[in-house]
Amino acid sequence: MASRLTTFGNDLYTGKRSFNFVGGRRKWYAIAAVLIILSVLVPVFRGFNFGIEFRGGSQFLISNVAEATQEPAIDAVAEVVPDAVARVTIVGDDGVRVQTDQLEAAETREVTTALAEAYGVPESEITSSFVGASWGEDVTRQAIIGLIAFLLFAAVFMALYFRTWKMSAAAILSLFADLVVTAGIYAASGFEVSPAAMIGLLTILSYSLYDTVVVFDKIRENTSWEGDESRRTFPESVNLAVNQTLVRSINTSVVAALPVAAILFIGAFVLGADTLRDISLALLIGILVGTWSTVFIAAPMYSQFREGEPAIKRHDERVLKERDQAASTSEAPAEVGS
């Protein structure tokens, strides 16, 4: 009848089943800390695999070749520019990508002609690009400005919407975890960092925050509506909210990840379309990491920020005391756990 996930969702909603996201926060923080440290260390030792946009250089992409081999390209480049080092990669089934040092416009034309001859394709099948070394710097600078602007606006918006800066702070902090870990995965895996990958990275921010806003909305509802009457402590209310939205989190992440995975598959394996592959790879990693950080970092952190407040402290102490009394007066469990 109902799918297993629905039943699972029911149990989470009623509190019959519950994952201790908030209570076990030391454990989650520790895991996050390890991931973050690794993500910082890996690039230090391995460095990022920066794309041609950051190194500067010339690139040729030959499509629809009969036989995708590397030698003709190396020979063709050497013929025109003897001292250039050509890096040749095969993309998809019938594509060859050649990267060289920066070439002059005239040399670019000659290499194009030589490559067309070498692979027996018309020149119109060859895509060439030339990127100055400062292009990557430009992209990076703009990306950093964009990042800072977005974080500022988002922080202000969330502080206004949730009417507490603590939610905003927790969301932004978990966002940093997303960024660092995604960057770490990039460095560790050796995926190429291109401007398109940076778009992906910035888009993740928006997705990760989106996810956080949805969960926080439920947290706010749970913690404010019941107010002082609540028979749960503050961390318990937060935890229940996270559990209640868990099925939603899973569903939205899966639904968001599926099309992205489709682009990645087509982009990386079938076609070798760089833009598609780079954007979707960063997005896919980011969607998964973003969901993780909302549940395991943002929510527990928000709870932690609020627990110290006097009103909440008083409430939590009272709830725990009443619970103790109830447990000692009757041996029967306070709640029937059917």
Binding site: S63, S134, D138, F150, A154, L202, I266, L271
Partner: protein, 579 residues
């Protein structure tokens, strides 16, 4: 849909739902009408225009060459764009697109193949300045002798006036000892083109002509090349209108240029050689340094000399098209073959289709019949998005790029997200024991707030990305922002009304197991509210049925009722029709 007979008794929700749907219909009809009008009368099309990476062509990104601390103004960028447009148009290329990007770069996008000449026209960084000549001499690698004299002269003058404040741009006072030494030692071969271009306009400049035969020391810029509105070549005509057979370049200045040039020519006319010369400096090199033969106040000077038709044409072109307010270098240049472009579009569309199918399968699995609402909503969102993009590409020059296609595909998932937020809210309400109609309304109230808040974050990200973005990011950000807005419209005007209407149908309101809103499956529990429907079924129906049959045989009616109650748990039920 609601049965008409029940309309009268139906609450206002049905009316509201139909009103929302009418608004949506009106919106779609309006979009179609706008597009039709565009196609019929204004050169619109039913398909969006494609960017170069999908269509094939060349894209060149130009970045300004800036000295430390220097920046480009929007005005300079706009001027540069219009000059580049002239250059490209002059080469007969149609449909070229020249735009600014971020606050400093210029993107030149040209569909189809690009010939070398046009490429050179675009790539030549050309910044034109008009500076007065102060010193001139023959360029020579053995510098010493001929410049000694000038050296003394200048040094004397400098000493005489102690710390001289130059009174005008031709004043010798510009030539300090240092500069004099630099001039003496200057070797034309050592000119660093890139550096010369960044030379400050308010300081003197030492440079050579394009053939490296003469070297010059020039005063500060007096007229900027951007003040030249036109330059043509033609035969010099005598006062009686008869052609003299010599070629000349005719300049025309704008108001500012006319004023500036009048002042300069008044001063220069009558000065001794070489200070009566006026140098046209293109990219830090002197392309021409004619002497002033009269006072010109009408802003229409004529440059004469030993021109041929070709050389006069070349100079006129340089003066006309070379007048960028600031010089640019090529930052990246991409030539994309048309076949690659179309195959990328094709695979992008295939990826989108696969993504869509996966999402549909997953939502069907999760939400059963309710998934039809998701699918229909996605279709509606798709139609509105397609129409919007087509209209924007006709009206605003939007072009669909590969990154834009990626954004559209990503948007499938992001759009479905908001439906999931809504559905899960409705399910939560059902779990709390509400009836479907009430659950839809209560769930909507809460979901709408969440959806708008979270979509605002998405939109914010898209706007920030769009403003600060470079390269293909813009197409991505714009498309993502557009789909976010459309998503919110669809949720409000389609998804919610559809659910309101479906809630009235028997299939959904009875909580059919396949409806995706089956209270039993959702574990609805009585929570002390006025409205509750069914208890949680801890025991399967067959078990209840068989045990009750077994019991019926040996129990009294009262016993039987008590047993039934016990079997289904300790929550009371007032609706036993389903069991």
């Amino acid at each position: 849909m609601a049965a008409p007979s029940k309309r009268s008794s139906r609450p206002t929700t049905v009316k509201k739902a139909w009103r929302s749907l009418s608004w949506l219909g009106a919106l779609i009809v309006a979009l179609i009408a706008i597009n039709t009008a565009g196609v019929l009368w204004a050169g619109g099309s039913w398909t969006p225009k494609l960017a170069l990476d999908l269509e094939g062509g060349t894209q060149i990104i130009l970045a300004p060459e800036l000295a430390e601390g220097q920046s480009v103004t929007g005005e300079q960028l706009d001027q540069a764009v219009s000059i580049l447009r002239q250059r490209v148009d002059a080469s007969g290329v149609s449909e070229a697109e020249i735009t600014t990007q971020g606050d400093r770069n210029i993107v030149v996008a040209i569909p189809g193949e690009l010939d070398d000449e046009t490429r050179q026209r675009i790539e030549s960084s050309a910044k034109l300045e008009l500076r007065p000549v102060i010193l001139a001499g023959v360029a020579s690698t053995e510098t010493a002798e001929p410049t000694d004299e000038a050296d003394e002269e200048a040094t004397d003058e400098a000493e005489a006036t102690e710390t001289p404040e130059p009174t005008d741009a031709s004043d010798f006072a510009w030539i300090t000892d240092e500069l004099q030494a630099e001039y003496d030692a200057f070797d034309c071969a050592s000119i660093d083109e890139a550096e010369a271009n960044r030379h400050p306009a308010d300081e003197p400049l030492i440079t050579c002509d394009t053939t490296n035969t003469f070297k010059y020391a020039l005063g500060p810029v007096e007229v900027s090349g951007e003040n030249i509105t036109d330059a043509t070549n033609g035969m010099v005509q005598s006062s009686s209108g008869v052609s003299t057979g010599t070629w000349a370049v005719n300049l025309r200045f704008d108001d500012q240029g006319t004023e500036d040039f009048a002042a300069v020519s008044t001063r220069l006319f009558g000065l001794e050689e070489p200070r009566n010369q006026f140098a046209f400096v293109l990219d830090g090199r002197i392309i021409s340094a004619p002497s002033m033969n009269g006072i010109i106040t009408d802003g229409r000077p004529q440059i004469t000399g030993s021109f041929t038709q070709e050389s006069s044409k070349a100079l006129a072109d340089q003066l006309k098209f070379g007048a960028l307010p600031i010089s640019f270098t090529v930052q990246s240049s991409d030539t994309i073959s048309a076949t690659l472009g179309s195959s990328q579009l094709q695979s992008g569309l295939i990826a989108g289709l696969i993504g869509l199918i996966l999402v549909v399968i997953y939502t069907l699995f999760q939400y059963r019949a309710l998934a039809s609402v998701t699918i229909a909503s996605l279709v509606v969102a798709g139609v509105i998005t397609y129409l919007s993009i087509t209209i924007l590409s006709w009206y605003q020059g939007y072009r669909l790029s590969l990154a834009g296609v990626a954004a559209l595909i990503v948007a499938i998932g992001f759009t479905a997200d908001s439906f999931i937020v809504y559905f899960e809210r409705v399910r939560d309400e059902l779990r709390d024991g509400r009836a479907l109609v009430g659950a839809v309304e209560a769930g909507w109230k809460r979901a709408l707030r969440t959806v708008i808040a979270s979509k605002t974050v998405n939109l914010l990200a898209a706007i920030v990305l769009f403003i600060f973005a470079v390269g293909s990011v813009r197409g991505f950000a714009f498309t993502l922002g557009l789909t976010t807005v459309i998503d919110v419209i669809v949720v409000i005007l389609f998804t919610h009304p559809m659910l309101q209407l479906l809630a009235q149908t028997r299939f959904f309101s009875s909580g059919h197991p396949w409806s995706g809103l089956d209270p039993t499956a959702l574990g609805a529990v009585y929570r002390g509210r006025a409205e509750f429907r069914k208890p949680a079924a801890n025991v399967t129906k067959t078990k209840v049925a068989s045990s009750s049959r077994e019991a019926q045989r040996r129990q009294t009616i009262a016993e039987r009722k008590a047993a039934e109650l016990a079997a289904v748990g300790d929550t009371p039920s007032n609706e036993g029709k389903d069991s």
